[in-house]
C-alpha cells in the first residue's frame, strides 16, 4: 500500500470513529430530537457545500443556482419513494441523476459566461427551476409535496457524506481535477496546456449538480412535506456562505463552513432577531481578518502538524 492509500485509510478510520461516537450519542439518548435533526442537516449541508466548492472553489465558476439542483433532486427523490414506493437509495440515485442531467444542460450554454454574468445566469436558472416546480400540480405546486416517508437516517447521511467527500477529494487530486484548478488559476494558460476548458467546466458543474441532487433527496426525506419555498435563492446563498466561510478550494473548509453555519443558526433558533445580525457580523469580521476563509486553499490533512506526524511515522516504519 502506498502513502496515498494509507492516508485514505486513515481518513476512513477517522470517519468511522466519528460516526460511531455521534451515532452512539444519538442512539444512547444523549442528544435531543432538535439536535438530532440538526446533526443530520449538517451532514447534508456538508454534501452541498463540498459539491458547490467543486464548482466555485476548485473550478472558479461562480454559481448561485445550487438550491435549484437540490430541489430537482428532492422532488425526483420523493416522487420515486412516495409515488412509486421505491427505497431511499433509488430516490437518491434518481434525484442525483436528474440534477446531473439538468446541470449538464444548463452548464453547456451558461459556462461560456464569466464571473458576475455567470453568477446572475445561474441565480436566474435556479429560480426558474423553483418556479417551474411551483407550477407542476403533480408535485403539489406551491402548497408542496406531502406524505413523504421519513427515510433519512443518520447512517444514510453520514455514509453519503463520506462517499461525497472521498469522491470529490479523489477527483480534485487527479489530472482531471488539476485541469479544473488550472481553469480557475488562468483559463488562457490552461487552454494553452491542452485542457479543453469548456469540457471541464461543464464536467465540474455536472458533478456538483449531481451531488446537490443527492443531498436534496436526503433533505426531502427528513420531513413530511417539502415545498418550493425550501429552495429559494436564499438557500443558494447559504451554501455559498458555507463555502466562502470555510475557504474556497478546501474540502476541510467546506466541512467547517457547513458545520459552523448550520450549528450557529440552530443554536440561535430561539433568538431569530439576533440570528441574522450575528451571522452577518461573523461574515464581515471574517472577510476583514481572513478573506480566504477559515481554510483557504488548504486542507487540514496537509497542514504542518499532520504532515510532521506522517513524516515521523514514515521514518519509524522505514
Amino acid at each position: 500500500m502506498n502513502s496515498v492509500q494509507k492516508n485514505d485509510l486513515r481518513l476512513l478510520v477517522f470517519g468511522v470513529v466519528l460516526f460511531a461516537v455521534i451515532g452512539g450519542a444519538m442512539e444512547g439518548g444523549f442528544i435531543g430530537s432538535f439536535w438530532k435533526l440538526n446533526i443530520i442537516l449538517i451532514g447534508i449541508n456538508v454534501i452541498l457545500s463540498a459539491s458547490l466548492n467543486l464548482i466555485n472553489g476548485y473550478t472558479g465558476q461562480f454559481s448561485l443556482g445550487h438550491a435549484g439542483f437540490m430541489a430537482v433532486g428532492a422532488y425526483v427523490g420523493v416522487i420515486l419513494t412516495t409515488n412509486f414506493h421505491l427505497p431511499l437509495i433509488a430516490g437518491m440515485v434518481g434525484g442525483g441523476l436528474a440534477a446531473a442531467v439538468l446541470g449538464f444542460l444548463i452548464g453547456l450554454p451558461t459556462l461560456r459566461l464569466n464571473g458576475d454574468y455567470l453568477a446572475i445566469a445561474t441565480l436566474g436558472l435556479g429560480e426558474i427551476i423553483r418556479i417551474v416546480i411551483m407550477n407542476i400540480q403533480y408535485v403539489g405546486g406551491a402548497a408542496g409535496f406531502s406524505g413523504i416517508p421519513h427515510l433519512t437516517t443518520f447512517p444514510w447521511v453520514f455514509a453519503t457524506m463520506l462517499l461525497t467527500l472521498f469522491a470529490i477529494k479523489n477527483f480534485v487530486n487527479s489530472s482531471h481535477g488539476r485541469a479544473c484548478i488550472a481553469i480557475r488559476e488562468n483559463e488562457i494558460a490552461a487552454a494553452a496546456m491542452g485542457i479543453n476548458t469548456t469540457k471541464y467546466k461543464v464536467l465540474a458543474f455536472t458533478i456538483g449538480a449531481a451531488f446537490a441532487g443527492v443531498a436534496g433527496a436526503l433533505f426531502a426525506h427528513c420531513f413530511y412535506i417539502i415545498s418550493p419555498g425550501s429552495f429559494t435563492f436564499m438557500q443558494s446563498f447559504n451554501y455559498l456562505i458555507m463555502v466562502v466561510l470555510g475557504g474556497l478550494g478546501s474540502l476541510t473548509g467546506s466541512i467547517a463552513g457547513a458545520f459552523v453555519v448550520t450549528a450557529l443558526s440552530a443554536a440561535l433558533a430561539d433568538w431569530p432577531e439576533f440570528r441574522m445580525i450575528i451571522y452577518a457580523l461573523a461574515l464581515i469580521l471574517l472577510m476583514f481578518y481572513r478573506p480566504q476563509g477559515l481554510f483557504g486553499y488548504v486542507e487540514l490533512t496537509k497542514l504542518a502538524p499532520f504532515s510532521r506526524l506522517r513524516g515521523l511515522k514514515g521514518g519509524r516504519e522505514e
Binding site: F171, H176, A182, E185, N186, I188, A190, A192, N196
Partner: protein, 255 residues
C-alpha cells in the same frame, strides 16, 4: 523536406486594423527560428494565430501537414504546439510541481471514474506524471523549489518554469514569447545555452520572439523581421544585420 509549420497568406483584422497581413513563413523540423520586429509589429498576434487564440481572417496555417487554422487552443496544443507567454501566465497560486503536472494533462490516459475510485491506471500514471515533472524541473534547476508557490519564484525562475511547463505538453514545436524579457545578461546567456540544449535533447523545433539581439543573433538559424504586420525581411542573422530595410525599421530614417 516538408516544413513543420507553414503559414500561407495569413491575414488578421481587428475591426478595420490589419494586425497581420500576408504573413508567410515556414519552419523546417529541427530549426531554431527568430521572429523580431519593433513593438506593436504583430509578433505576439502571429503567436496567437499559431496557437488558436485568434482565428485568422483569411489564409491557412499548416502544421505537420494539417490545416490548423480554426482549431481551438487546446486542440492545437494536443497536436503538438506549446507556448510560453510574454506576460508570464503561470498558475501562480499553485506549487511549481503542480504547474508542470497540469501540462501533462493531455497525455494522462485514466478516466474520471478511475480517478474518483482510484482504480486502474490512476496510481501508475500519477506516479509517472510526478516523476516526469520532477525530471523536467531538475533540467530547469527548479527541482529544489518544487513545493514553492509559483508566484514566489524570482522572475527568471518563473520564465524557466513557463518553458518547463510548455515542454510537459510534449510539443513538436515550441513557441517562446520573449523568453529573456527581464533577465540580466548572465541569465540571458544561460537561457541561450538552455534553449539550444532543449532543442537537441527534446528534438524540438523552436520559434521565438525576442528583443534581446544578442540572444536572437546568437542562436537563431533564420530570422523573420516583422513591421506593421508585414514581413519585411527574412534570412540568416548576418543577412538580417546587414539588411537596410531592417536597419531602417529599427533605427528610423531613410534606407
Amino acid at each position: 523536406m516538408e516544413p513543420l509549420l507553414k503559414s500561407t497568406h495569413v491575414v488578421e483584422m481587428f475591426g478595420g486594423l490589419k494586425a497581420v497581413s500576408d504573413f508567410n513563413i515556414y519552419i523546417n523540423p529541427g530549426e531554431l527560428i527568430g521572429l523580431i520586429g519593433p513593438n506593436g509589429a504583430g509578433k505576439t498576434t502571429a503567436f496567437n494565430l499559431f496557437t488558436g487564440v485568434y482565428q485568422p481572417t483569411s489564409g491557412t496555417i499548416e502544421f505537420d501537414g494539417q490545416n490548423i487554422a480554426g482549431l481551438k487552443p487546446y486542440e492545437i496544443t494536443q497536436r503538438g504546439i506549446a507556448r510560453t507567454f510574454q506576460n508570464i501566465r503561470l498558475f501562480s497560486e499553485l506549487s511549481v510541481l503542480d504547474n508542470v503536472k497540469i501540462a501533462f494533462h493531455s497525455h494522462v490516459k485514466y478516466s474520471v471514474a478511475e480517478a474518483v475510485f482510484r482504480v486502474g491506471r490512476y496510481f501508475d500514471e500519477e506516479a509517472l506524471v510526478t516523476a516526469e515533472s520532477h525530471r523536467l524541473l531538475s533540467i530547469f534547476k527548479l527541482d529544489d523549489k518544487a513545493e514553492e508557490t509559483a508566484k514566489n519564484l524570482p522572475y527568471g525562475a518563473q520564465r524557466r518554469l513557463e518553458i518547463a511547463r510548455a515542454l510537459a505538453a510534449k510539443p513538436k514545436l515550441l513557441l517562446l514569447d520573449e523568453p529573456a524579457a527581464g533577465m540580466n545578461p548572465q541569465e540571458t546567456h544561460e537561457l541561450m545555452e538552455m534553449i539550444r540544449w532543449i532543442r537537441d535533447q527534446f528534438s524540438l523545433t523552436i520559434l521565438l520572439i525576442e528583443h534581446d539581439m544578442s540572444l536572437v543573433m546568437g542562436i537563431c538559424e533564420r530570422i523573420y523581421v516583422l513591421e506593421y504586420g508585414e514581413i519585411i525581411a527574412h534570412g540568416t542573422p548576418e543577412q538580417i544585420q546587414n539588411n537596410p530595410e531592417v536597419i531602417r525599421a529599427y533605427l528610423g530614417g531613410e534606407a
